[in-house]
Point group: none
Chain length 193, copies 4
DNA sequence: AATGAATGAGGATTCATTCAT
DNA sequence: GATGAATGAATCCTCATTCAT
């Protein structure tokens, strides 16, 4: 059965399986065996490719973040005006992949990890810095000197609404949250005029 | 030398020890033995009083929430005007006990738990409902019909800033976050005029 | 089933079981599970009492050495003249417990360990120093200034014969080795006259 | 790019790598993967050439013994008188290759193996018989009927001093041991006159 | 000949939980 | 009430060995 060039395939399969298992369990209390089984291989192979459980988790989180980054980039590319671009950023956090239960679970556990794992914390700060920078870029032409504070607030608003929508019971929570955020953004822009 | 009336003392000691251990570990990966040792008793006794690990965690989380509730109530009682009361609510989330590392850790893990544990989720919803209701009560006289949306946004803003301050590296983050929130609230109130 | 004050009993049982298992396997490739089973307990309990495999091995080796030390002390106490005491030391290495297969196995593995484990090496040096000192004490009156070299040679002779007898096929090798050593000692003493 | 006639090269590389790895680890706890990597090939190939771990070890031990045999033969060829030849045998055990750490490690582990592996034991007995025969051949003209016992003692003395020198901390131990052995041999020869 | 993908058994260690005392 | 002895399942990780290519 062994084939050549399996490494990237196996690694991707393990990353996907990790996200799925963590999503299903809701926590990082997932065994390497479970992940490997879901990825269709032995636990030994999982270790062979990643070296250990922590590295598997790290790769999975990296994947989540890069997917989110891609979604944001896509939204930014599609939008033309600053206002539309801001809306794109907001939507990217609540649309599609970003709001799947397993992605939510990854985020929540990521926050927990960020307390103690320097790697996780670094990754998180990169995400936060990029989000702030994206928001600032498009808020600046609209708000001028008020942009930095507004960016900070908008970023927090996104995280806060994400958290509430993610842990609520309303299936439409994501959409409503995005709408509400958009309206709040209008207020912020309107108040400055 | 068993004593009478030890139960509440033992339970409180275990709850405190749990919060401390979870705070130190940054995650729920703490053993009953560690908790019991820190509480000055055997692991068997911990089971005797709580029945199992999950119940110990549940009790600890309940304690955190009730402490936070107390802080909010205190702040509300001290303030006189709606605006001051809103500020009190904000400050209660970033002052004193609420921002100790072990309390932060408890919150983050609480979010994780809320995904899968009905008990945790229920507790979380109670906290959220109470927060919204408190905010609404004082926003209503200031904003009228805009109050519900504003309450929702303010609540998210609090959670989002809490998250960012908690996982940042700035030791003054909590204070700054509270100031920024207060300013954002001023904006919200000003925009409505 | 739990009882009080089991610790020394359990520890002794584990030490005995370790010596027996290592002796049976001929090497340190013995699992904690095997040792624990032979000692009549679970592997978890073995860890509870010793902390880990290495410490179990260390305790077993310490036991072997102290048994040997006891045998030498006994032989020295029983003998009256220097010559008889030297013979007692020789006999103690080839008599009784010292030549049981599991003790032989322990010694051989001990030599291997001594290469890399500082603890084992220290223990070995203590054994060697004590042997040399014992021999010297009784050779001095017989050989004067030639005693130190003779002690060194006699010690090596003991170890060398032990090794050869231990790994030979002759069931009477130990006895013959002791006789031959005794004769060699006579030669050494005679030559000096 | 498989090549023809690689077999002896591969086998030799694996034997060398085994000795080096065992020497570095101080024990037989080395993996086939480590050995193969050091030998510059895959673990699969190591199995292909040797069939399994045990056979790799056996080949390595055979190599050690044949090197030692060669050293002894060389020393014997260079010496002219019986006394000088005996000295040559002694020196061969403490000079050059025989006292390198990895060779020491191989010997110690060889003793351990000899307890349970018939192959190792046979090899060991061949070494011992050859050593005894060599010693006897040159002791006979010097000691006559006392030669057999003297050969046995001298052989044990060599092993014993080797062991002590190998596990001591003195870097000059090998040289000193050889000198001391030589002096002891003089005593044995002098005593018989 | 040579690789390295793949397996799966095995082992040390940890831990929640139970229970005799 | 209180202890800590005891268990055994569970988990991560390692490794010899096999095998398709």
């Amino acid at each position: 059965m062994p084939k050549l060039g399996m490494e990237p395939i196996r690694r991707a399969a393990l990353v996907d399986a990790t996200i799925a298992e963590v999503g299903q369990a809701g926590s990082l209390d997932v065994t390497v065996g479970q992940i490997a089984r879901r990825a269709g291989m032995s636990s030994g192979l999982a270790h062979h490719y990643f070296g250990g459980k922590d590295q598997i988790f790290a790769a999975a989180m990296g994947h989540i973040l890069s997917m989110y980054g891609g979604a944001v980039r896509g939204a930014l590319a599609r939008a033309k005006t600053p206002r539309a671009r801001l809306d794109g950023i907001i939507r990217a956090s609540f649309d599609g992949d970003s709001f799947r239960p397993e992605v939510i679970s990854a985020w929540l556990n990521f926050y927990v990890q960020a307390q103690t794992s320097p790697d996780a914390r670094r990754l998180l700060h990169i995400y936060q810095a990029r989000l702030r920078s994206n928001l600032l870029h498009d808020l600046r032409p609209l708000l001028g000197v008020g942009a930095p504070d507004a960016a900070e607030n908008l970023a927090s608003l996104i995280d806060g609404h994400y958290l509430r929508a993610a842990l609520g019971n309303d299936p439409d929570a994501a959409e409503k949250a995005a709408d509400q955020l958009s309206a709040a953004l209008d207020s912020m822009l309107g108040a400055a005029r």
